[in-house]
Amino acid sequence: MGIRFILMVNKQGQTRLAQYYEYLTLEERRALEGEIVRKCLARNEQQCSFVEHRNYKIVYRRYASLFFLVGVDNDENELAILEFIHLLVETMDCHFGNVCELDIMFHLEKAHFMLEEMVMNGCIVETSKTNILQPIQLMEKSS
């Protein structure tokens, strides 16, 4: 299914956003997040951004204090996923203006909404910033 899950985790290993595209029970999610955080957060800037985990890959990137971790199938293009992460951050930047961890914490719904515009059922369906932000801006106007 391409993308299996998207996680945002801070430096302390606390999950700030979790979006799964396949159903996992709470225990499975907890275990998965724990394992991934242990694996990825221990790595430094000079090491590559790809980690093999179980039967899939994790592509991650760090922005300030926040790690963006994307779990993908093995044949997914790693560089494209990195670009996707960057696009996600740019989009958030665009909306929140210099996005930080707190923005995502307090506007989790919006972050989810953006993600839902970009990724549907594990496939990337939208890559244009304006298109992603259009519905959310409309909604803000109406409320």
Partner: protein, 978 residues
């Protein structure tokens, strides 16, 4: 009354999600208490009749569930309630909660079908449609998919791009859950490939990429459309997906690759995006590897990646290189210095990839050097990577029954060396290989015994529990092949040294059993020697007879081999007697005596060690060392100790007695014990051989034997008894096909010339220091554990194991590809029929048989319909008649005919191919079993009724679709792109 007031209070003073988050941030320690309080509030609030309060509570609950993993399944019904709210902001919260918490087993799923249908068909608010689509893509079950397929079908051609692209992405899940939906939706999905809107194309290509990766065969007919997108699209995301699709399709249809290779290379050359370039490279190396030009270009690009500073590109470069390696090793060799350089990268992932590549370069010409370099490198690495290196060395060398190992002496000593590496955790694998080699390669046994002795004799190794398995193998080998040992007494001492009490019981039992075997050998040798002295036989003959007993029945032959080897030995050690002829030596005892005197300082040869004193000493030693173990609680140990001690008791008396009468008549007195010893020796010298994996299957099961009876009760009774691993080796004796040549005695004499290793002195030193502990009872349970580590990496530092040297060395050995053949021929490796690993496990079939079936059916249904409706009447009737005729003919002969037909097709010119092809396809269709055909036609008609929409490109489709009909019968598929 009370409940209404509380609900009003809740509404007025409800904490919002923001309050909750702020509160959470303030809690440094009492977070769980805070959350459980919040959950309590939520449970109350969520029952409120006020939609705002309710949705707010649900929002908080979703937050806690999503980020703090609190269960929210209990709120499923409330979720449904909020979903059905008329306000969009509430509905959104409800849908989000549903997609977060609902699973296939959620009972309330049955309640939401109508709500979803209502929202999906909402004409005014596309955002509500989008919410429903998004939620469905996460929670849709088979039932939901079945019920909502018509709505989704309508949305697939929605004029609103925003909705349509989401509907397209949803189709993936619908197909997976409810394959019958393919009949309805597939055609529309395909039409979207032609869309002018880039977002639609992007979404639909994503869906096809996923579908194709699961079952490429079904989508082969769509190749022309895919090809068009591959050539025309400017969107990198789409192109990457397209390349993934073709990487799968090309493997099925080789002719497609000729078409695809050009555009792929073009993209690779032109694009500025690394992601697309890498995808092109990966496609070429994985699926187009027979196109040499393309591979060359790809390797150039890989090299660029490898030399980049970005660790990501480095990693991907190595990754791509390891895909190329099996088919184009030259690509790896070309980049070897970079690959080896990254072996010392700081990123473990990169190191691992480059290790994989280094192992790919190993061949039988360079295996010795590469392994040497890698093992030295492992000494310096961190424990994890060290073990990875060792693991890959072990698996590479043992591949295909040690295919690449020519020099087993080297390999066995490498195994010994690996065991001594500080972080080595490959005990199990090394154990298996030691045993396996000892049984398969008889030429290597002397070296094995030497390596085993070095391991056993080093007391420091006994403190490393990772080595226990290796030590057990060493003990077994030493016992089993003791006749190759230089000094069996030393082995007994090593096997019974006090620190063996650190070993687990199962392995200790192996130690004791091995000591038993060694003792028998010593006694037997002693007796033979005595006999021969008494009857003034030459020692050499007696001993060589002994040594040969197991190896060769024709002892006399060996004796003649042995004699020259002895003369060689003399030449080295005793120049005085070197001019003596070998005959003299082998006949006269005097010659031997001089040798023995001359050798007192050098390692003892087997001739002079079996003295009476030595034997008695050993018997005493064993009695002392094992005496305390008669109280052991482990059955295996107890059993073996008893065996050994009773045996000693049995023979000791007579042996002691025999001393008194030594010079007189020993024959009568010693008859009994020597008989026993001879018997035991015969028993132990029974050859153990490798056993075929399938051997067990060949044994017929006797009648009345119930093998599948439940033995759980038994397990409960003897649960804690561990079987010693030696049992698995001692099964059946098999015979070798070939005897050993003259190399055996050669090796033996060579071995005898070697100076004593440091381990002997280690043991001696240990004995000096801890003499107190030797030969005493085991009351001192705690043995001092203060030995220096067996293998301090610092000690090895002087060895040339720097990375630069690594590069240099490896370069050298890689450059000299063709090395002169080894002087030593490769020894025989015994192979059994059961050893051959099955070529490959059964390839897993397509995951979704029903899905692929449905897809094929739709494509076929299209075809049936279009071909009957489009073709002119005369054509139709003729083809029908033809079909009827075919039905009568023998199917097998027809199959051959068709195959031949298809082969011919390739050589025909394109213009004639087309027409011919069509008829060909029709014949096939009619040939397929009637029932299936009927069903298909029915489907076609059904669909015809459903959609009056006629596809614009039926002509191409028809041509492409036809062969799919027979995919299961013949692999013939036309070139879609011609």
């Amino acid at each position: 009354m009370a409940s209404t007031t509380s609900s009003i209070m809740d509404t007025l003073f409800q904490r919002t999600l923001e309050d909750l988050i702020k509160g959470l941030r303030l809690q440094l320690i009492g977070e769980s208490a805070f959350i459980s309080k919040a959950l309590e509030e939520i449970r109350r609030e969520i029952k409120s009749t006020d939609p705002h309060t309710k949705s707010n509570a649900l929002q908080k609950l979703s937050y806690l569930s999503s980020l703090h993993h609190f269960d929210m399944s209990w709120a499923a019904f409330h979720v449904v309630e909020v979903m059905s709210s008329s306000r969009f902001s509430h509905k959104k919260i409800g849908y989000h909660a549903a997609s977060l918490s609902f699973s296939d087993s959620t009972p309330v799923l049955l309640l939401i079908t109508n709500q979803l249908r209502k929202d999906l068909t909402n004409p005014n608010n596309e955002f509500e449609v989008s919410l429903a689509l998004e939620c469905l893509s996460r929670i849709a079950t088979t039932d939901l998919c079945r019920d909502l397929t018509p709505e989704i079908f309508t949305l697939l051609s929605s004029t609103k791009i925003f909705v349509r692209k989401k509907a397209i992405a949803l189709v993936l899940r619908v197909f997976e859950k409810y394959p019958d939906a393919v009949k309805v939706c597939f055609k529309r999905l395909v039409e979207n490939l032609d869309s002018t809107d880039p977002h639609i194309v992007s979404a639909v290509v994503g869906v096809f990429c996923e579908l194709t990766s699961n079952d490429p065969k079904s989508y082969l007919p769509l190749a022309p459309e895919f090809y068009r997108i591959l050539v025309d699209s400017k969107n990198n995301w789409v192109l990457i997906k397209m390349l993934k699709i073709f990487a799968k399709l090309v493997l099925l249809e080789p002719r497609l690759s000729k078409r695809v290779v050009e555009p792929v290379c073009e993209h690779m050359r032109r694009t500025g995006a690394k992601s697309l370039m890498f995808e092109c490279v990966r496609t070429v190396v994985s699926s187009l590897s027979e196109h040499e030009q393309a591979v060359k270009l790809a390797v150039v690009k890989i090299r660029e990646l490898l030399l980049d500073d970005d660790p990501n590109l480095k990693y991907l470069g190595l990754n791509a290189l390891s895909i190329v390696a099996p088919k184009h090793l030259w690509a790896v060799l070309e980049n070897k210095e970079v690959v080896i350089k990254w072996l010392s990268d700081e990123d473990p992932n990169i190191k691992r990839e480059s290790l994989r590549l280094v192992m790919a370069m190993v061949s039988e010409n360079n295996v010795v050097e590469i392994c040497r370099v890698l093992v030295n490198y492992a000494l310096k690495s961190d424990p994890e990577f060290c073990n990875e290196i060792l693991g890959s060395v072990l698996s590479t060398c043992s591949r295909n029954l040690y295919e690449i190992v020519n020099d087993f002496d080297w390999y066995v000593s490498l195994l010994g060396e690996m065991s001594r590496i500080l972080h080595c955790q490959q005990g199990d694998e090394i154990e298996n290989q030691l045993i396996d080699i000892s049984m398969r390669v008889r030429d290597v046994r002397p070296e094995l015994v030497r390596v085993g002795r070095d391991l056993l004799i080093d007391p420091a190794l006994l403190s490393n529990h990772f080595l226990y398995r290796i030590l057990s193998a060493a003990a077994w080998v030493s016992g089993e092949y003791v006749e190759f040992s230089r000094n069996p007494f030393e082995l007994i001492e090593a096997l019974l040294q006090p620190r063996t009490n650190l070993l687990p019981p199962s392995i200790r039992a192996i130690y004791i059993q091995s000591a038993f075997k060694v003792l028998i050998f010593c006694l037997h040798s002693y007796l033979l020697q005595r006999e021969s002295t008494a009857s003034s036989y030459p020692d050499t003959l007696a001993l060589s007879e002994l040594a040969s007993k197991r190896e060769m029945p024709e002892g006399s032959d060996l004796a003649t081999f042995k004699a020259p080897s002895h003369s060689e030995q003399d030449e080295v050690f005793n120049p005085r007697v070197s001019n003596q002829s070998s005959e003299e030596l082998s006949v006269g005892n005097g010659g031997d005596r001089t040798i023995n005197h001359g050798q007192t300082s050098t390692p003892v040869t087997s001739e002079n060690i079996f003295t009476y004193e030595a034997v008695v000493n050993q018997l005493n030693l064993i009695e002392l060392a094992l005496g305390p173990l008669t109280g052991s609680h482990d059955v295996e140990i107890l059993e073996r100790v008893r065996n050994l001690l009773c045996f000693i008791e049995l023979i000791k008396g007579e042996i002691l007695e025999s001393l008194v009468q030594k010079e007189e008549n020993l024959n009568s007195a010693e008859m009994k014990s020597s008989k026993i010893i001879k018997l035991m020796s015969d028993a132990f010298s029974e050859e153990l051989g490798p056993v075929s994996v399938s051997a067990q299957e060949r044994v017929p099961i006797p009648e009345g034997l119930v093998l599948k009876e439940n033995l759980n009760d038994l397990e409960m009774i003897c649960g804690d008894i561990q079987l010693p691993s030696s049992i698995s080796f001692s099964l059946v004796s098999t015979h070798y096909e070939e005897g050993v040549g003259a190399s055996l005695p050669d090796l033996q004499s060579k071995e005898e010339l070697e100076p004593p290793s440091e381990a002997t002195s280690l043991l001696a030193e240990h004995r000096k220091r801890h003499g107190l502990y030797y030969l005493t009872s085991e009351k001192n349970d705690i043995v001092a554990n203060d030995y220096p580590p067996a293998n301090d990496p610092k000690l090895q530092d002087d060895q040339n194991n720097d990375t630069e040297d690594l590069v240099k060395l490896t370069e050298q050995l890689l450059v000299s590809k063709k090395r002169p053949n080894q002087a030593k021929p490769r020894p025989v490796v015994v192979k059994l029929d059961g050893d051959f690993v099955p070529v490959s496990a059964k390839r897993p079939g397509p995951k979704d048989d029903s899905l692929s079936g449905a897809v094929q059916e739709v494509l076929l249904g299209n075809d049936t319909r279009t071909s009957t409706s489009r073709s002119n009447p005369s054509d139709k009737s003729s083809s029908k008649r033809k079909g009827k005729e075919k039905l009568i003919t023998d199917p097998s002969s027809e199959l051959n005919e068709n195959l031949g037909d298809a082969e011919k097709l390739d050589h025909e010119n394109p213009s004639s191919r087309r027409s011919k092809h069509r008829t060909h396809g029709k014949e096939r269709r009619h040939k397929s079993p009637g029932k299936i055909r009927e069903e298909r036609e029915e489907n076609g008609q059904k669909e015809k009724k459903k959609s009056s929409h006629r596809h614009a490109r039926h002509k191409t489709r028809q041509r492409a679709d036809v062969p799919l009909n027979v995919v299961s019968e013949t692999p013939v598929i036309p070139d879609f792109l011609l």
